[in-house]
């Protein structure tokens, strides 16, 4: 397999720029010249001199504390106890620049926490070995009543079932979101997982997903866009999910020994590659282009998909003829290179720069991306040849990013609401071994219990069926049932009813007197909402303090007039303010 650009460093990026006819410089990337003097916006301290990517925060109407919380909410999953203070001390700009280079951020705590998920480092073949499907004869005997449930558990133990793979992946994802110091990396991995979505429940995709995230997405999450497209295009998870592994030249017939059946083109991947992965639906391609791109990718298949095999190019199923994609001729006889040529064509197309930029601006700024910022980000995308960090630098440095209009403009997705609640309360995530497995859950532990909450809120991770992945706009997540689920999650978390995700509210209250409900509430506003509380919410919750159940008048073991901190915390977590970032 030809992997053109995996090893490219920023130096090569800069080299590519020199070849750019426009000669445009890429904002934020140091090209060997001394760092430019930053304009001294609020809340910044001198930038990290070792940073390769320079962020220059624009002047902002937000207070320095608002800016820090905004950045922690947008580039990550919200602040943890003490984090705002730590970022203030380190400098907001420096913090962002470090996030752009996750390799330089030590992350031992999360690495230790992830060690309890054995599926993570395994290949698809190893996963098939360790988490096999039940043998058909056992299933038959069990269903026929010739085998007891206990005997079935013996030959097909619950901890070795295929469902464990997805459950561990989901748990690991929550563990990373809550504990990782490399917050921007985790946000971007999630972004690309949805952009290049695969559905774990389709056929053998489940066994392929750990490798897909580890090899195709994670290394390139802050890298170059072309590498993402090339890596996903060749990954068995994508080849299977969008059916390209079955697509052959129109006139291909299986040998008689294998049934002699006529195969042919399958357009699924070709269409989604252009519509969802690169150009966008209005990016200027036709049905004719879909067919031509599908022809280019014929022969890109999987070696034994049911057993965890890898990418394979089968020359005899490849369409050797000439193709014409978006007006460009791809000469006959290109073989496996046809697909790579299509990828190069697509990733450098102006529609792709615009489409990817608008999705990134939607993720980091607002549901309705400001067109001027999208245009600037797209210009960076083109000038930097798809360097994702360069595009992010443009976005983070934009006045739109720290504007009043962007502040609290995004409604949190279920993943964001669950992870940010666990972070803001400093929840401790127990390992599966320390937690009883509830009900029929395949995996126990803090990450798993939080992942099930995310699913209950409507976002089953790794299990979005449509190729568009989970949505990133408020309209999709705000509904009556979803809001109730969010409130129920807040109650469960604050009352420590999620086994494995342990919350201790006492340290958050510090020295506040539990017998003074108004002081408790103020402290919760400060800790959970960082003081960003509307007058309505403040008024409503102060009125709640009169309730005999919030302020216990009865003598219980905590004494008279003892504030129900858990319920009050749940109300603050369930408030409209906490649903936004």
């Amino acid at each position: 397999m030809r992997r053109l650009s995996l090893g490219l460093t920023w130096v090569l990026v800069a080299g590519g720029l020199a070849a750019c006819s426009s000669g445009a410089s890429v904002p934020g990337i140091r090209e060997g010249a001394p760092p430019r003097a930053a304009a001294a916006p609020p809340a910044t301290t001198p930038a990290d001199p070792a940073a390769r990517y320079r962020v220059t925060l624009a002047p902002s109407p937000l207070t320095p504390e608002q800016q820090i919380v905004h950045v922690l909410d947008r580039l990550g999953y919200g602040p943890r106890p003490g984090e705002v203070e730590r970022v203030r001390a380190a400098g907001l700009t420096a913090w962002i620049e470090r996030q752009l280079e996750p390799g330089r951020i030590p992350d031992e705590a999360v690495e230790r926490a992830l060690a309890v998920f054995p599926v993570l480092p395994l290949t698809a073949a190893e996963l098939h070995r360790d988490y096999p499907q039940p043998r058909p004869q056992d299933v038959q005997r069990f269903q026929g009543g010739q085998m007891t449930r206990e005997e079935m558990r013996e030959v097909f133990p619950p901890e070795r079932r295929p469902a464990v793979i997805t459950a561990q992946l989901q748990a690991a994802k929550l563990t990373r979101a809550v504990l990782s110091e490399r917050q921007l990396q985790e946000v971007m991995v999630d972004f690309w997982l949805n952009h290049f979505n695969v559905y774990a429940q389709k056929g053998p995709v489940r066994w392929m997903v750990p490798d897909y995230e580890r090899q195709a997405l994670r290394p390139h999450a802050l890298g170059r866009f072309r590498d993402l497209v090339a890596a996903t295009a060749q990954h068995p998870a994508m080849l299977y999910f969008l059916d390209n592994w079955l697509s052959t030249r129109e006139d291909f017939t299986l040998p008689p020994a294998r049934g002699g059946r006529k195969l042919g083109l399958n357009e699924n991947y070709a269409r989604e590659l252009m519509e969802l992965h690169t150009l966008g639906v209005d990016g200027g391609y036709t049905q004719g282009d879909v067919v031509e791109v599908a022809r280019c990718f014929t022969g890109w298949t999987i070696d034994r998909p049911q057993e965890g095999g890898g990418f394979l190019f089968r020359p005899n199923t490849h369409d050797r003829g000439e193709k014409r994609v978006l007006g460009t001729v791809i000469p006959a006889g290109g073989g496996q290179g046809d697909g790579l040529a299509v990828i190069d064509l697509l990733v450098r197309h102006p529609s792709t720069a615009r489409f990817i930029s608008s999705k990134l601006v939607r993720r980091f700024v607002s549901d309705e991306p400001p067109p001027a910022l999208v245009e600037r980000a797209a210009r960076t995308f083109r000038a930097a040849d798809g360097d994702i960090r360069a595009v992010l630098v443009t976005i983070f440095s934009a006045p739109e990013f720290l504007s009043a209009a962007a502040h609290h403009a995004k409604v949190k997705t279920p993943l964001e609401v669950v992870a940010s609640a666990a972070r803001v309360l400093g929840a401790r995530l127990d390992s599966p071994a320390d937690t009883a497995t509830p009900g029929r859950a395949a995996v126990a532990g803090g990450g798993a219990v939080l992942a099930r909450q995310v699913a209950a809120l409507g976002e089953p991770l790794y299990e979005a069926q449509p190729p568009t992945g989970h949505p990133d706009v408020a309209d999709a997540w705000v509904s009556a049932g979803a809001l109730l689920s969010r409130m129920n999650f807040a109650l469960a978390l604050a009352h420590n009813r999620l086994p494995g995700a342990r919350v201790d509210l006492a340290p958050l209250l510090e020295r506040v007197d539990r017998r003074q409900p108004a002081q408790v509430l103020e402290r919760l506003f400060a800790v959970v909402l960082r003081g960003q509380v509307s007058s309505d919410t403040r008024r409503v919750l102060i009125a709640q303090l009169e309730s005999p159940e919030i302020v216990r008048a009865t003598a219980d073991d905590r004494g008279p007039r003892n504030t129900d901190v858990e319920k009050l915390t749940a109300l603050v977590l369930g408030s409209p303010e906490f649903q936004r970032r």
Binding site: D243, L246, S247, T248, E250, F252, K262, L263, G264, L265, N266, E267, N268, R271, E275, L276, V281, Q287, V290, V411, A456, L457, G458, Q465, P466, P467, T468, A474, D475, A476, W477, V478, S479, A480, G481, A482, L483, L484, S485, M487, N488, L491, H495, R497, D536, V540, L541, A543, Q544, S547, E549, I550, K567, A570, L571, G574, S575, P576, Q579, R580
Partner: protein
């Protein structure tokens, strides 16, 4: 941020007409609404939209077995010609069309003239993108992406009455579908049973009541934006649903819903109808129709989907019994699939498909729409079933004739170029 302002105004003025304060002190809004919902009584009409996500193969659902090109084009995935002694063959409807054999539970509804088919139905837009085509079908504006609201929401808004129920429009699922987004307001719920605030010891304990009150007051502040507006509607709906006890209503007439997404949704929609909570429009999804690979024929992947689909619709009609006279079920899908089998015993994205209309005053036992034919020269772009009935013609006919919605706001910019189908007597 202020997208709900107009809705707030409409609701506010409606309440002031009734002399009921919107804040604390007056009669609770939900009671007023519940009273109104009951006033409208059992004659209230209900429309159920069922979306087959992923583009159902209309040529397998309602098989044109009388078109010789069908068997020529389809090879191994064609559904066998009707044969009375073969339970796996097409169920003939009118000598030309037939139902997929897995849809056998729906056959009695056809025979009783309660089920109609509209074939070669679809969008004038040529997109083969699932996302765009679903978006267009739900916004009701093919080719126009900027439409903010959905066609069902517009229909509801134009028939809005003072004190309408918070349960006028319900979607079963975690998210509100595009078709119901808009100023009319609608409720999305995973399940009736989970639709409440649950504290330490279940929803009936005092702790839960207290937490519910707390959350309710947090979102009561009005409809300043999407979150607040939704929150307020949510709590009105919670209270009403609890008083109606809908989740305790068991299926009637021996109805047996299949397991799965659609069966669960229709079972709960039936509960809402029977609980008289003022339901007018309900929306349910069924996934799994994107059969690019190995779709099968009389048996196989697609047949399993049809089995669940047909059993769920038949159980729903059975469950509601006589109440079906006031209920119409309309099925839809974003587009159809290629006429020819692809290289993987499946079908790729096509154009027209078939849609079903069941119940109410529908003149069933007929296949509506002009059949464009499957000859190569008759196909859209040389490959797909052509659209001869714009989906808006069908949807508008159902909404105007069954729900009594005015036609104009439903589909902005749509001028019907064909006469109505005549689905209703």
């Amino acid at each position: 941020m202020h997208r709900c302002t107009r809705r707030a105004f409409m609701k506010g003025s409606a309440l002031s007409l009734l002399g009921v304060g919107a804040g604390l002190g007056g009669v609770p809004r939900f009671l007023v609404r519940a009273a109104h919902a009951r006033d409208t009584g059992p004659r209230a009409k209900v429309l159920i939209a069922v979306f087959q996500r992923g583009a159902v193969d209309g040529l397998s659902m309602v098989v044109p077995h009388g078109d010789p090109e069908y068997y020529a084009a389809r090879g191994g995935i064609a559904i066998p010609r009707p044969a009375p002694d073969n339970a796996d063959s097409t169920l003939d409807l009118d000598g030309f069309f037939g139902l997929h054999p897995a849809l056998a539970p729906m056959r009695p509804l056809w025979d009783a003239r309660r089920l109609a088919v509209v074939h070669a139905c679809g969008s004038p837009d040529t997109t083969r993108s699932h996302f765009d085509a679903q978006d267009y079908m739900e916004s009701g504006t093919p080719g126009v992406k900027s439409t903010a609201d959905g066609w069902l929401a517009r229909g509801l808004q134009s028939t809005s009455r003072p004190g309408a129920s918070p349960f006028r429009a319900v979607a079963i699922g975690p998210r509100l579908p595009r078709a119901l987004r808009g100023e009319a307001g609608a409720v999305a719920m995973n399940s009736i049973a989970d639709f409440d605030v649950k504290s330490d010891a279940g929803p009936v304990m005092p702790g839960a009541v207290n937490a519910r009150r707390g959350f309710e007051s947090l979102y009561e502040g009005g409809v300043r934006d999407l979150l607040y507006g939704t929150g307020r509607e949510t709590f009105e709906a919670v209270k009403m649903l609890r008083s109606a006890n809908a989740s305790r209503i068991a299926p009637a007439n021996g109805a047996d819903y299949p397991r799965g997404q659609l069966g669960g949704a229709l079972r709960q929609i039936a509960q809402l109808i029977k609980a008289n909570v003022g339901l007018e429009v309900a929306f349910a999804d069924m996934q799994g129709w994107d059969t690019h690979v190995g779709q099968g024929a009389e048996r196989g992947q697609l047949a399993l989907r049809f089995r669940e689909f047909g059993a769920a619709l038949a159980a729903f009609a059975q469950d509601l019994g006589g109440k079906m006279a006031d209920v119409v079920v309309l099925t839809m899908s974003e587009f159809g699939r290629t006429v020819a089998e692809n290289g993987n015993r499946g079908t790729d994205h096509g154009h027209a498909t078939a849609m079903l209309v069941l119940g109410g005053g529908v003149r069933g036992g007929r296949v509506y729409g002009r059949w464009p034919g499957l000859g190569r020269h008759q196909l859209f772009e040389g490959r797909d079933l052509a659209v001869t009935t714009d989906f808006r013609t069908l949807f508008a006919e159902v909404a105007t004739r069954h729900l009594g919605a005015p036609a104009a706001p439903l589909f902005p910019g749509f001028r019907a170029t064909q006469p109505s189908l005549g689905l209703f007597a």
